[in-house]
């Protein structure tokens, strides 16, 4: 069994008194693909955003590669590690957004090379070579001088995946990466993600693509109302669920 690289235990998070995450726990092992499914508003994206440090948790423990990002203090409320530690952990995580969030004033190549150069202090030559390699993999070699507005949604999302990969993250998070795309472009992105899975990239994917979750994920979590209702293999969740709520949710996809 390979090592656990992400642990989240009993994560709680509220917005203005309303609890959005009501004690979520999960584990991800190296090379594994975890799919998080569930209805809109179930807290899936909030969970990802908490782990990616875009939101702060109210209580719970998160650790990455055995480094603690946040844990409960004596009063049971979350205490974050030092800013240096949080930053170090953040650099091990990549995040692909639903609406890409490419930098519009940078060319495709600059979008991918800027962070490695500015943040990781790589040489420009090294960063450019790595970016070209990634663009080739994404089938976008001829687009390196284009600007984001000149690209289709699917191309933009592939650039944003390349941008995340250029930082060599240990884990790559996807927050509904295909929800802003039409079915044809969705296929493009799912192909790229399948390829990454085949290369044993560790991924946590919040998605409404049930077929993808079924085929590619090693584990699936079904969330509803801020809790994990089920956690199992795709087969357990999709074919043999005993949970009424899961079955009701999934039936809408199989009809």
């Amino acid at each position: 069994m390979s090592q656990t690289i992400l642990t989240a235990t009993d994560i709680k998070k509220g917005f203005d008194g309303e609890e959005v995450l009501k004690g979520i726990s999960l584990e991800v092992r190296r090379g594994e693909v975890l799919a998080i499914i569930g209805p809109s508003g179930s807290g899936k994206s909030t969970l990802l955003r908490c782990i990616a440090q875009l939101e702060s948790v109210d209580s719970g423990l998160i650790s990455v590669c055995n480094d603690v990002l946040v844990q409960n203090g004596p009063d049971g409320r979350a205490v974050y590690s030092s800013p240096e530690q949080c930053r170090k952990i953040g650099l091990r995580l990549g995040l692909v957004f639903q609406n890409f969030n490419l930098f519009p004033h940078y060319s495709v190549l600059k979008n991918i090379t800027d962070a490695p150069v500015r943040v990781l202090q790589k040489s420009r030559e090294e960063a450019v070579a790595a970016a070209r390699e990634l663009l080739k993999k994404m089938g976008l070699s001829e687009k390196e001088d284009a600007y984001p507005y000149q690209l289709s949604g699917g191309q933009q999302q592939r650039v944003s995946i390349a941008r995340a990969l250029a930082m060599n993250p240990e884990i790559l998070f996807f927050d509904e990466p295909t929800s802003a795309l039409d079915p044809e472009l969705t296929g493009e992105i799912l192909r790229v993600m399948r390829q990454l899975a085949a290369e044993h990239m560790t991924m946590v994917v919040v998605t409404h693509e049930m077929q993808f979750a079924h085929d590619v994920a090693d584990h699936v979590i079904f969330m509803d109302g801020g809790t994990v209702l089920e956690n199992g293999t795709p087969d357990e969740i999709f074919s043999h669920t005993r949970n009424e709520r899961t079955r009701a949710f999934l039936s809408r996809f199989t009809e």
Binding site: F97, N101, A164
Partner: protein, 213 residues
């Protein structure tokens, strides 16, 4: 009317107008950004005084502010600025308030996903601000900034109320002493030329920033 003397005096006075124009920009462009950030701060102790400052600057006549800066600092604080410096400080403080509101509009128009993407990629807050957010803000605020620059060229003429010898002051002296309207026409042309250059500069800037959307 001795046109050579007239033109020489008008050119000299124009240099004074330009000096006020440039000083105001050099101070108020960065100051306005700080004011905008203060205005957007979630801390009441920061944003309330800043809002009050903006209210005063935009809510009272610029001419009053010029008079205040020259005549009122002495009785209040024992500070006497010379005429030109008083004018420059008054202009800079006033324009910083307007620039701040323009910056704020630009800053609030940048989707928060841009900062989030930068954060996840490991940019520090200041890297994200200066390399990701600010360039996009500058593109968005170029047209309203052009308006303000043009207004400032003309507003420099207000400095004459505290005795600064700028272009329109010299012009009106010539007009009243010689009973000849020609200097008014010439002054109008001077302002037009200055604003023609400002307009051209902004067109060039907008074109240079049009490589992305």
């Amino acid at each position: 009317m001795n046109y050579q003397v007239l033109l020489t005096e008008m050119f000299t006075a124009t240099l004074m107008s330009l000096q006020i124009f440039l000083f105001t920009l050099i101070v108020s462009l960065p100051l306005g950004l700080l004011v905008a950030l203060g205005r957007m701060s979630k801390l009441k102790i920061v944003n309330l005084p800043v809002r009050f400052y903006i209210l005063i600057m935009r809510g009272t006549p610029l001419m009053l502010q010029l008079l205040f800066m020259f005549y009122a600092l002495k009785p209040l604080f024992g500070i006497q600025l010379d005429r030109v410096l008083a004018a420059e400080v008054a202009f800079a403080l006033n324009y910083a308030a307007y620039f701040a509101e323009i910056y704020r509009g630009g800053l609030e128009a940048i989707p928060k996903g841009q900062r989030e993407a930068a954060k996840v990629l490991g940019y520090t807050k200041s890297q994200a601000f200066f390399h990701i957010v600010l360039p996009q803000v500058i593109k968005r605020i170029t047209p309203p900034m052009g308006n303000e620059f043009i207004t400032l060229v003309k507003d420099t003429s207000l400095a004459q109320v505290i005795g600064v010898v700028e272009l329109l002051k010299v012009t009106s002296q010539w007009v009243s002493s010689a009973v000849d309207m020609t200097p008014l026409v010439i002054a109008g042309l001077f302002y037009l030329v200055m604003n023609g250059i400002v307009t051209r500069a902004f067109t060039v800037l907008e074109n240079r920033l049009s490589y992305y959307q």
